[in-house]
Amino acid sequence: MGDKAQKSTVIHNQVHNDIHNNESRERDSLFWLTLAFTVFAIAPFLLPGYFWGANDARHHVYFLFEFDRVFQDGVWWPRWSPDFAFGYGYPFFNIYGPFSHFLAQFLFRGLNLSYTGAIEMVFVLSILGSAASMYLFVRSWMGRQAGMVSALVYVYAPYHLLDLYVRANLAESMAFVWLPLALWTARNAIRTQAFRWVLGLSLSLAGLLMTSQLVTLLFAPLFGLYLLIVWIHYTPVKPWVDLNVPGWTRILPWVKSMLAPGLGLLGALGVSCIFWLPMVLERNDVRVDQWFDGRYGYQSNFVYFFQLFSPTWDFGVSVLGPDDRFSFQLGVVPIILSIVGLLLIWQRTPQIGEPLRWELLTFVAVGVGTTLVMLQPLALLWELPVIGGVLGAAQFPWRWLTPATLCFSVLSGLVMHPILTPIEQKATSSQLTFPLFVTIAVIILGSYPLLQVNIIEPAEGPVSLVGLMRFQRSSDELTGSTRWVKEIPTWSPMAEYYESQAQANPDGPIEPVNSKVDYSVLDYDQETGFVIDSLAHNTIMEEVWYFAGTDDRRIIYEHFYYPGWRAYLLDGEHGEPVEELEIIPEEQGTLGRMTVPVPKGEGHVLLRYEDTPPRRVGRNVSLVAIGALLMSGLVMSLRKQL
C-alpha cells in the first residue's frame, strides 16, 4: 500500500470515527433542532378548519369514519367498510394498508380528537417521523450535520409537500417515515449483525407494508439494490478474494452475514402477514379496472421533462397533457445540494472509501433512474414483461417521485459531509454552524411558497353518513366494488334513507340503517308468502327472523358479495349456528348482492363477516412472528445482562 492510499485510509477511518463518536453521544441537540425546524411544514395543519380542498383529504376522513364504525362494533382489525359504494360495502382495509388509520383511530378515540383533527394529526406525525428517520439514517454514515440537511430536504421536498398538502395522501405521507428507517436498520443489520437491528428492520418494513403496499413496491428496487451493495461492501469476508480457500469456507461466512437482514425480512413478512396474505389472495375478488384503465392508464400520465423543473404549484388533480397544473418538480434545493455534494465528494473518492462511494452510487442510480422512467421517452420500458410489471405498480409514472425524492434527500446531505468540513470547523461538526444554518435557511425558504393548504368548507356538509353518500355521488369516489358487481351503482336505498333523514332534519343526527335486507321481496300470502324481520344489525352482521312459504325463497342483502361473508341458520333468536347456508351472489341485476336461500318454514338467519382462511393464517402468523421477536429480544437482553 502506497503512502497516498495509507493516508486516505487514515482519513477515512478518522471520519468514520468522528461519525461514530458523534452518533454514540447521548444528547443529540441537532436531532431535536431538526424536528423543531419541521414546524413550517406542520403549521398549515394547525390552521383552523380542514383542508377539504386537497385531493384525498375527504377520503381519509371517511376512511377513518368507516374504520371507527366497524371498530365500534368490536372488530379490532376492520376489513369491511359497510357504507362505501353507497352502503353496499367494500372490503377497503382488506386491500389497503391500514396503519395510518389505526393511528388515526387511536388519536380519534384515545385523545378524543375530531375526525379531521385525527387525520391532520397523523399528517403531522408523518412529518415529524420522516424527519426523524431520515436524520437517523444519514447521521449513521455522514454525521449529524448531513443528517439534519437530508432530513429537512426530505421534509421540504416538493413531492413530499405535494403528498401532504395537495394530494393529502395519508398512506404515502406516512410511508415517508418508514423508508429511511428500513434503509438504516438494514444497513446496520448487515454491518453489526445485532438483534436490535433485526428487530428494527422487521418493524420498519412491516410498518411500510401495512402503511402502503404501493410505496413498498416503489421502494423495493432501491431497497434490494442498497441491501446488495451494503452486503458486498461491508461484509468483512469476500469470497471472491482468496480463491485458493475451499469454496464453502469462503462462501459460508459471507452468506452468514446475510442472516441478520434475512431474519429482518422474514420478521417483517411475518409481522405484516395479517395484512398482506389476505390482500394478495383476495385482491382478485375486487374490481380494479376502474383504477387502471382510461384516464388512470399510465400511458397518458408520463411526466414531461420541463415539469421536473417547473415552478408550477397548484391545487387540484393531475390532468393529462403538458399543461397540467399539478406539480412534478424535483425541487431546486434537493437538485442543487445533490449535484454540488456529489461533485465535491467525488473529488475525494479515495478519502471517502470504496463502500461509501458505492452507497452513493446506488442513490444516484436509483434517483436518476426513477426520474427517467417517469418520462415519455422511456415509455418502452413500461411495456417490457418484468420491468414493466414493476414500473406499472406505480399506476401513475409520477409516483416514482417517491424513491427519487428519497435518493435526492440522502444525496443532499453530502454538502455537510465531515470530509468536506474545513479542519477548523471539525470541533463544531455536531453543532449548528453558520454554513449549516445557511443551508437550512435555503432549504426552508426554497419551499416556503409551497407551504399552504386549501381550506374550504365541505360541499357535502359535516362528516356523517349523508355526507359520505353525497361525496360519493358528487365525486364518483369510494365506489369500489367486488368482482361480482357488473355495474357500479350511482345511488342506493341506504343513501336515499340517509338523504331523507337529512332533508327532514338538516341539523339532526343521521342514524345508520337498522337493516340491510331488501324487503321488496316480501310476500304476505299466508300459504306461500315470505316474511323477514331484522332482529339485530351492525356493520358486519345481521340476524333476521323469516317465514318462507315455499322452499325457493331467498333473503337478499344490500351488500356486495365478497369472501368472508357467511350465513348460518340459528337454533333460535340469538342462538347458535346449526347449519351454514349458501350465499349466492345475485345472478340477475348488476349489483352482485348477496342472496341466501332459506329452508321452507320459519327460522333465524345470521349473516356475518368473518375471517377467511388466508385472514386466519395471516393473523396467526403475525402473532407468532411478534411473539418470536419479543421472545428473542428478551433472550438477547437477558444474555447481555448475564
Binding site: 414531461y304 421533462f305 420541463f306 421536473l308 423543473f309 417547473s310 415552478p311 408550477t312 397533457g321 403538458p322 399543461d323 431546486v332 434545493v333 437538485i335 442543487i336 445540494l337 449535484i339 454540488v340 455534494g341 461533485l343 465535491l344 473529488q347 454538502v415 455537510m416 468536506l420 474545513p422 454554513p435 449549516l436 445557511v438 443551508t439 435557511a441 435555503v442 425558504l445 426554497g446
Partner: protein, 527 residues
Amino acid sequence: MNQTQSSITQIGFWAVLLIGVFAWAPATYPGYWQGLEGFLPVFNVTSNGPVADIGQLPDLWRGSGRGTFLLAQPLVALGGGAIGAVRLSFIIAFILGGLGTYIWLRPRFGDRSAGLAGLIYMLMPTFLATVYVRGSLGDALVMALFPVIMAGLQLFVIERSPSAIGVAVLSQLWLWRIQPGLALFVVSFAFLFILLVEQDMLTLLAIGMCTVAGLLSLWPYWSIYAPSSIIFHEHFVYFFQLFGNQWKVAPSIPGWQDGYPFQLGFVVWGFGLISLWAWWQSTGQSTRQPVGTHRFLWFMLGAAALLTLLSLELSNPLWQWSQAHRLLTYPWQILLIASLPLAVLAGAMVFLLPALQNPAYWAGTLAIVVLSSHPYLTTQFTDYQPNERPIAVYGARQEVLLLEAEIVQTEGEATAQVEIAWQALQPMDFDYNVFFQAIEDENGATNVVAQLDTQPVQGTRPATSWAVGEVITDTYSLDLSDYYSSGKDASNLQYHLGYYNWTDGSRLMVRESITGIHDNKLVLYGR
C-alpha cells in the same frame, strides 16, 4: 495546472452544465410559447432573405439576420420541425451563455466563482425574458455569443491559443449576421475590455480586423432599412423597474406602467453589492488580489453602470446625439449587454469572499441563484402547431399574423365556413370587426353573395383584448342557400377575409405571405 487542480476546476463547469438545466427546461415543452414575437422565429427559419422579413419589417441593424437561424436550419434540413429546431437553438443559447461566462472568468476568478457567474448569467431575468417573454431568438443568441467571444479573447490573451481566437473570431462574425445593432455594442465592449484591462495589442488587432470583416459582410445589405414602429425614446426604463418583481408576458409600452419585466434580479443586486463591499474591504487589507483584478473589476463596474444608465431616460440626449437609437428597437435592449458585466460582478462574490467557497455556502449561493429566478421559469405555453408559413400578415405595423385560414364549402348545408387562427404581434388600438364575404365574379363584375361582419369570437374577444403572442381561433360561417338554390356553381366563389374599422369602414392592410400581394383583404378560395 496539476491533475487535482484540473479536476477541481470541473466542479464549476459541471454545476453550470447540470444546474443550468433550470434555465432551459421550459424550452422542452412539447409545443411553443406565446411570446411577444409569436411564431416569427419559427416562420423565419426557412426564409431566404438576408434579414428576417416574415411578420416583421426587415431592417439591417434592428432586425434578425440570417445568422439567427444558423443553428436551426441544419436541424430543419435534416427533417426536424422548425419549432423543435428553434427551441433547441434557445437551449443552446442558454448553455453557450453559461459556459462562455464560466470559461471567460475561470482563469481570473477560479472555478467556483466562475461557475456561480455562469449560472447567474443563464438565469438572469433579462436572459429569461428575452427567451420566454419575447421569444427573440436573435437577441438570445447575442446573449449567448457575447460571453463566448469574451472567453475566446481571454484565453487567447493568456495562452495565445489559436483555437481560442478562432472561436472568438467566428463568434464575432456570426454575431454581425445575427443583429448588427447589438453586435456593435458587444464588439465595443470587447474592444474596450482588451484595451483597458488586458492591454494586448494582438488581440485588439484581431477584434479590429474582425469588426471590419463583419461590417464588410453587411455591405451588400446596407440599404435594408425600415422605419421602426416603436418610438425609441418612449421606452426608456424607469429606475425602479430595475428592481421590480413582476413577471408576465406583456409588450413594452411607454410609461412607468410598462408590464414587460425589466428587473435585473435579486441576485445581481444582492450578490453584486456584496461583491463591491468585499472588494472595497479587500483594498484596505494586506491580502493582495492577483494582478489586474482591480482593473478588471473597475472595468466591469464601469461597463455595468454605463450600460444600465443607457437604458434610463437620462441617457436620451446621448442616444439622440449619437444617433445610436438607430441600432436598437428599444433602449432597454442595452440591458442585454449590461447583463454580462452585472453577472460577472455578482459572481465575483465568491472570489472576493473566499469563505463562501465552503461547500455549504457555495451550494447555498447556487440555490439562491436558481430560487430567485425560479418563479420566472414558466411562460404562456401553447400546443398549437403552425404551418411552415403564416397565411398573411395584417396591419401596417405587422399587427396580426393569420396562422391558418381554411374555407370549407358544404353544398348539403349550403354554407361556407372559414376556420381561422391568428396571433397578435402588436397591441391592437381599436376593436376591429372581422369581415368575411363570399364574392361572385361574373364577367369581371364582382357581386357580394353573402357576408358576415362581426366582432371576433362572438364578441367575446374584441381586438383590444388580444394579448400579444396569444393564439386565438374562431370559425365564421356564411349562408349560401340563396346562391345554391339559384343553381350556380360554388366553385366560382372567392372569399374575402379581413379586419375593418367599423366607425369609418377603413380596412387593415394585409400582406399575403407566399405571394407577397398587398391588399385590404385576403382572398381565399373554397374547396
